[in-house]
Symmetry: C2
Subunit: 418 residues, 2 copies
Amino acid sequence: MALIVQKFGGSSVANPQRIKEVAQRVARVRKAGHQVVVVVSALGDTTDELLQLAAEVSGNPSDREMDMLLATGEQVSSALLAMAIHGLKLKAISFTGAQVGIVTDRSHTEAKIRKVSAQKIKQALSRGNTVIVAGFQGITEDGEITTLGRGGSDLTAVALAKALDARICEIYTDVEGVYTADPRVVPNARKLPAISYDEMLEMASLGAQVMQARSMEMAKKHEVRLHIRSSFSRRTGTIISKEVKAMEDVVVSGVTVQKDEAKVTICDVPDRPGIAATIFTRISDSRVNVDMIVQNVSRTGYTDVSFTVARPDLKRVLRAARRVASEVKAGRVTHDDGVAKVSVVGLGMRSHSGIAAKMFQAMAKESINIEMISTSEIKISCVIRKDQAVRAVKAIHDAFGLDKLGVKPITEKAAKRK
Amino acid sequence: MALIVQKFGGSSVANPQRIKEVAQRVARVRKAGHQVVVVVSALGDTTDELLQLAAEVSGNPSDREMDMLLATGEQVSSALLAMAIHGLKLKAISFTGAQVGIVTDRSHTEAKIRKVSAQKIKQALSRGNTVIVAGFQGITEDGEITTLGRGGSDLTAVALAKALDARICEIYTDVEGVYTADPRVVPNARKLPAISYDEMLEMASLGAQVMQARSMEMAKKHEVRLHIRSSFSRRTGTIISKEVKAMEDVVVSGVTVQKDEAKVTICDVPDRPGIAATIFTRISDSRVNVDMIVQNVSRTGYTDVSFTVARPDLKRVLRAARRVASEVKAGRVTHDDGVAKVSVVGLGMRSHSGIAAKMFQAMAKESINIEMISTSEIKISCVIRKDQAVRAVKAIHDAFGLDKLGVKPITEKAAKRK
């Protein structure tokens, strides 16, 4: 008998029929003798409907009241799932985040979990219940209701899996798992049976939208084994854990592409200590997340500093960039919003050479020009023209043979063994 | 500066526009220098929508989970009202029943309030907030969310008015106040400026659907002054308090009619001590509320026992009546679902004679036959044929001159002075 945490997102509990299907899935695991703690998001469109109501009563609703409002969505789906499980003659009990003691700081709408008390859940489990916890929410020490921000239900699930020492934390979503590339872009992309936290973190920040980086980081920190899988099939998905033995021979796990990028260059920046710090402090103050940063060696006492941002942030970042350019006595600021970023990710890079060369060759064969390059221990990213992105991803995917990974799919049983 | 509790029902907060109107109403009272605690029901159809969702996932949802589900409705409207008040540049803060410490027993879906801790509300008020409390809900000592059953938000408001020693508890509804008769039945019915708890209790149980008897009883017990008024106008409604001085000369406050009645008679009941107790214990066990009970003197050692019930309960009560008739060796059980009950209610009856005679004469003039009569200190009820009910009410209303009550309407100002 193991304890399993299962998290179901909004599309998995979009309507009463789906909720009943989730109940049946939970029942199968219960009948196999396991204990189950379920974390649910709000029903499909609920959050949007609540946001719409808020927008209609107020142009600028307070964060505290938004949390009061939005936290109800997950409370509704939790209660409904408990009822649906009761319908299958199994014991179940739902709790709000406040009730199970998911204690957060006071940052309304993006609260951070401070601690989780597992006692109430353990007690309910010991009485034979499936325990359902409203995701995305918590409570402060002084009894204020908070929400955890985007991807908050994943965070709830990971935090509970840690607090309860669960065998695995299953994240049910509308995709079958993590793929070597986006299947809509690369039709022969393969589902990865397993991947490491670090690779997944690189993938997540690069646009593989299965799980937010924040939850992944928490899972990595506490070594919570994750299983990303579809709520619409019984197939095994992708296991995410610390190091993936079966993957040692696999150099590259996936190729990702981000098309919604813009490139900004501050020209002729004086090459003095502290200048880069000034530039990126000012830009961070404008609340824009900078992605790649590239600065080449200086040969004249001046250098060009380039970085990429999400395209919707371009206007804001340009204002900040121009101000700081003038402050540090740099030259003009140029930008380009016709770029994309392609990346390869893989733990294997750490011990294999030639990965970058292979990637660059693949693009060269397609006559694709590389405008910027940036690398980390397990990732290589290139900025290229946006209209060449799809060709680039396919070429790289083929070059690394990702369509024919030699790894056997792991079975459901193996996946659940800790 | 006074503290005023205001309760808004579902129709008063049916949509964002209405919520903004409520916010404006609250703002006016705030700007007049008063402190305001607002109790809100769920938005218009919310509760029905949640019930529908529950019905779709489960044929027989548990009471505990129903409470988890339904309590969200009032939390949503509370948060939205707080946002709307913020939009008027006034401080406001919303709380769930749990957060303000409305502690109940464990009877899910019909919990009883055990105690109310006013501390959190007082603190928030002292910081200049309008405090909004989700109605209809509470929390048990061990942290379970409960709801208070039908009319629960009225109960919340009355309980808070008591705990906070409010000057008045305003119940906003979709009617202008309490009338001498149902204006849809008696077009020249007048709004009563004031009425006593006892009269209102008789009216409430007789079909004047402005407030549930349960909340009225709590208001009476704690002498919480109520003001029943419309959320769609600024007009003064009806004040409900212990004794209404201005009303001393008014013998009868109102005439009510209940058309959805059925009459049951158990014939030839042995006239022995304890028999009535047995009969009504059995009938109460069938969970039917019996209304009027009439038993005349026995002259043969046997008597007929009649009572009325709400028509939807007739089938159930007949089964119980037949069983108990056989148990106590009574005769057959007859029933009649073509009856109505008309009543006059008035504190003045206690000191005035001839009220019953006047009522009976009014009906006699209309050739209306009276089938059953029952009286209390401040009420006289008659069962008559249903198709004569409207004529009876109009005739009685006229006979007591209720269309030309000599009482001056009390002003808003006077109404609010405790």
